[in-house]
């Protein structure tokens, strides 16, 4: 609900980032691809705004949840953001070509190692990377 205090809403996000299996979360601006918020990702750029990372992310990277990620190589937030952004853009254009009035609502990309859940919206998009459930 929009009336929630900002802290409370963001607490949901923090909690989401701390769930078992969740490697990282990322919020981008849909239009420019600017990173609004990340957790569980390391920023390699000096100019990156440290405030955009959630408070929880620092301890999150040090505990067990991120082990899987380290094996697969550390991605900087910027890299992931760029790749996701271009990916969602091409997905969007594909859908638009299929049907002009259609739009992408949800992307779940399952790889051998993890799953990306991307929720695109008018202004922002939320990306969550988590371990594939063992099955």
């Amino acid at each position: 609900m929009a009336h929630n205090a900002p802290d409370e809403t963001l607490a949901h996000l923090t909690r989401l980032g701390q769930k078992p299996g969740v490697q990282s979360t990322l919020i981008l601006s849909r239009e420019t691809g600017a990173i609004v918020r990340t957790s569980g990702l390391i920023s390699n750029s000096k100019s990156a705004n440290p405030n955009s990372t959630l408070p929880a992310s620092s301890e999150n990277t040090s505990d067990g949840y991120s082990n899987g990620r380290k094996e697969s190589g550390i991605h900087s937030a910027e890299d992931v953001a760029r790749m996701v952004w271009t990916f969602i853009k091409s997905a969007g254009s594909m859908v638009e070509e299929l049907d002009k009035e259609d739009e992408v609502k949800l992307l779940r990309l399952r790889t051998k190692k993890c799953e990306l859940i991307i929720v695109p919206d008018v202004k922002y998009l939320l990306v969550m990377i988590h371990d594939t459930p063992p099955a």
Binding site: M1, T9, H12, N49, S52, L106, R108, I117, Y124
Partner: protein, 717 residues
């Protein structure tokens, strides 16, 4: 054929004439252009065009007229034009956009038209933007005209009209395909322009972005399209505190949470054979876990660190429209005076970590339920006496609430219901001072009806303290009110034959020795009407089953047989069946699908499922919510409320003192819409008949006798 050829020859001649005329006019315009400059080219004087068009029309009509003398006549060109104003407009636009059409005649290749336009600058061409949609309908009408050229005249008129729209009628007349091709080319041209515009805009955007991407240029060089711009503190603040952003986070995190919760792995490869995934059949808890059909399985538990803490559950409900949504009302958290006292959380069974919706109120919510007629609405009764209405589409505060003045309730509202039909329903609320008010959902500012329940004559005071009310399925004007003193009174909303509105003084259901906590009418869904069976739960450690007298025929003569005796005119009805329990019983609910099944929760924190077809002495299944959170050890585990999922009847939600909502799924013998046997209905009916007979025979001996008789029958079966 000869005639046709003649026609064509004649046409060609006319066209040649037209061509000559146009050339003349073209020269004229050129002259004028040289004098007044290019703007006049677009603002061509309309009269001249109108004139030529009429000429063209005349010529065309002449042609048609000669070939088809018997036709109904194409009508005067002016009249035809009047009837299709749109085409005229499009014609104007087209000619205005393309500039100087006259030189292009029948023989002219269409490609020239295109080339001609391409030399124009983009500025004047913007008017064309309005045309792309228009050529399509034009084509359709035209080709129709061609197909029926030999037989039909009226379409022909229309088709030629469209020719004149083009201002290139000769081309069109000659080959209809040309016009089609033309429009296709037009479309292509439009597309071309659009693409160019898009490219320009993109370049602009890129240029603008390039300015911003400077700081992280190395990253963006590999992907020029991606502006990995870092937001400044201020920007970040602005974004994260914006309503849009919070709204987005709220919605998208819910989506992700549901996605994470989705347990089934659609990529599962059973060929790999990991050996897991076998349904754990024997983890069922409780006394009757032996039989698979009667097991109760816990499927979800809802508790929120922030909101559920130190609050008790005061009511539960499952949405009739979305069976995965569970509503829970809470009392206040005594240790958090700054938080709203009243709270309603709507939980999603697919998202156990956090509530789907949270609603607030200024006073403890004592009862709440989904509106059965509107999936978005939730109504609740508050300790302050307010009746509140929330909308899941709105914010947390109630969208409507009743006044706290004399018009509304001034005592706690412990019970309310929505009765009626989809289009005509009322909220009926009941406060502990005996005031029953009726409201319309649209307007809670003033009650529609007011009714005051007073104790019938023999009692010493007028006061009556209803703790719960229940409406039968069939009659929204009649209800039962359970009171604090233990009696249950039948009440009428309106005056009716033989009874005034209010408590019906002629009948009284006595049996409970302590406040009645819950009343539930049998849901009439099956072949046999059992709608007069009522269950009541009381803190006197018992649940009782009643057979309610029909409201219309509740005169004293009709009930003499079953009644134990009247006191001061009131007929006292005794319960059909008594289920003594080992603890306070807080709530009891009939299964919505199985005729003999009901669920009860008690002060010991047990959920019991009974089936009166199977046994009337012990529950068929019994369980307690798991202590998942590890916080119930020191807290009271008492369960306050129970609610069935109404459509399938498979899931039960329970909740109590510790604020945890637990959802159970019952086995196929206790729930599930399918597999309800006919015997179950007739079995309940027979049982009720036997009980009634037993009650009549053993009047005075009490329930022991009745129970014994039933037991004997049960043993026989």
């Amino acid at each position: 054929m000869q005639q046709r050829r003649d026609e064509i020859v004649a046409k060609k001649q006319k066209l040649a004439e037209l061509k000559r005329q146009r050339e003349l006019r073209h020269k004229e315009t050129q002259n004028r252009q040289s004098m007044s400059g290019s703007p006049s080219e677009i603002l061509q004087p309309t009269p001249s065009r109108e004139h030529t068009r009429r000429e063209v029309d005349n010529i065309i009509n002449g042609i048609i007229g000669s070939s088809r003398p018997g036709s109904t006549g194409p009508g005067s060109p002016a009249g035809g034009k009047g009837s299709r104003p749109t085409s005229e407009i499009s014609a104007g636009q087209l000619s205005g956009g393309t500039g100087t059409p006259p030189p292009y005649m029948g023989a002219t290749p269409v490609g020239e038209v295109e080339r001609g336009t391409q030399t124009l600058s983009i500025g004047p061409l913007t008017t064309i933007y309005e045309t792309p949609a228009e050529p399509k309908p034009e084509i359709i009408t035209y080709s129709k005209g061609v197909q029926t050229q030999e037989q039909w005249t009226p379409p022909k008129v229309r088709s030629f009209q469209s020719d004149s729209d083009d201002d290139e009628s000769p081309t069109a007349v000659k080959t209809p395909r040309a016009s089609k091709r033309l429009s296709r080319r037009e479309r292509e041209r439009d597309e071309d322009i659009r693409q160019r515009l898009r490219k320009e805009v993109e370049e602009e955007v890129r240029a603008a972005q390039a300015l911003g991407t400077d700081p992280v240029a190395p990253v963006s060089t590999s992907q020029p399209n991606f502006p990995a711009r870092t937001l400044s503190d201020e920007e970040l603040n602005a974004v994260t505190s914006s309503e849009d952003f919070l709204d987005f986070v709220e919605r998208s995190s819910k989506v992700i949470e549901r996605a994470l919760e989705q347990e089934y792995d659609i990529l599962a490869d059973y060929a790999l054979g990991r050996g897991e995934g076998l349904d754990d059949e024997d983890d069922a808890v409780g006394a009757a876990a032996g039989k698979k059909g009667r097991r109760i399985k816990e499927v979800a538990q809802f508790w929120d660190e922030r909101w559920s803490k130190k609050r008790m559950i005061s009511d539960l409900g499952i949405s009739p429209k979305f069976p995965e949504l569970v509503l829970a009302a809470y009392t206040k958290n005594p240790s958090a005076p700054h938080e709203p006292d009243g709270l309603v959380q709507v939980w999603n069974q697919h998202m156990p970590e956090r509530p789907e919706y949270v609603f607030h109120a200024q006073s403890d919510i004592l009862t709440a339920k989904f509106s059965p007629f509107h999936p978005n609405l939730i109504i609740g009764g508050a300790y302050s006496g307010q009746v509140l209405l929330w909308d899941t589409r709105a914010k947390q505060a109630p969208v409507q609430k009743t006044p706290l003045t004399k018009g509304g309730h001034t005592h706690p509202v412990y019970s309310l219901d929505i009765v009626g039909t989809q289009n005509a329903n009322n909220i009926i609320s009941c406060s502990t001072d005996g005031v029953v008010l009726g409201w319309t959902v649209d307007r809670l500012s003033k009650p529609e009806e007011t009714l005051e329940l007073v104790s019938p004559p023999p009692s010493k005071t007028d006061d009556i303290a209803p703790t719960c009310i229940a409406f039968p399925q069939s009659d929204p004007t009649y209800f039962l009110a359970g009171t604090e003193e233990g009696s249950i009174y039948p009440c009428h909303r309106y005056d009716r034959a033989g009874a005034k509105a209010g408590v019906d003084a002629r009948v009284k259901y006595t049996g409970h020795a302590a406040p009645v906590m819950s009343l539930d009418f049998h849901p009439t869904r099956g072949q046999i009407d059992l709608g007069d069976l009522v269950l009541s739960a009381s803190v006197d450690w018992s649940v009782k089953l009643w057979k309610v007298k029909p409201p219309a025929a509740s005169s004293s003569t009709a009930v003499t047989g079953a009644a134990a005796g009247g006191v001061g005119g009131a007929v006292v009805v005794e319960p059909l069946l008594d289920f003594p329990r080992e603890d306070l019983v807080y709530d009891v609910r009939w299964s919505p699908v199985k005729p003999g099944v009901f669920a009860l929760v008690d002060g010991a924190g047990m959920l019991e499922i009974w089936d009166i077809n199977v046994d009337i002495e012990v529950p068929v299944a019994k369980t307690a919510p798991g202590d998942k959170k590890g916080l119930g050890r020191f807290m009271a585990r008492s369960l306050n409320k129970v609610a069935w999922e109404k459509n399938e009847g498979k899931r039960i939600a329970v909740g109590g003192m510790d604020g945890v909502v637990t959802v159970f799924e019952v086995g196929s013998e206790l729930g599930g819409a399918e597999g309800v046997r006919q015997e179950e209905w007739s079995g309940v009916k027979k049982l009720v008949g036997r009980l009634e007979a037993g009650l009549g025979a053993g009047a005075g001996t009490g329930e022991r006798g009745a129970g014994g008789m039933v037991n004997g029958n049960g043993a026989l079966r």
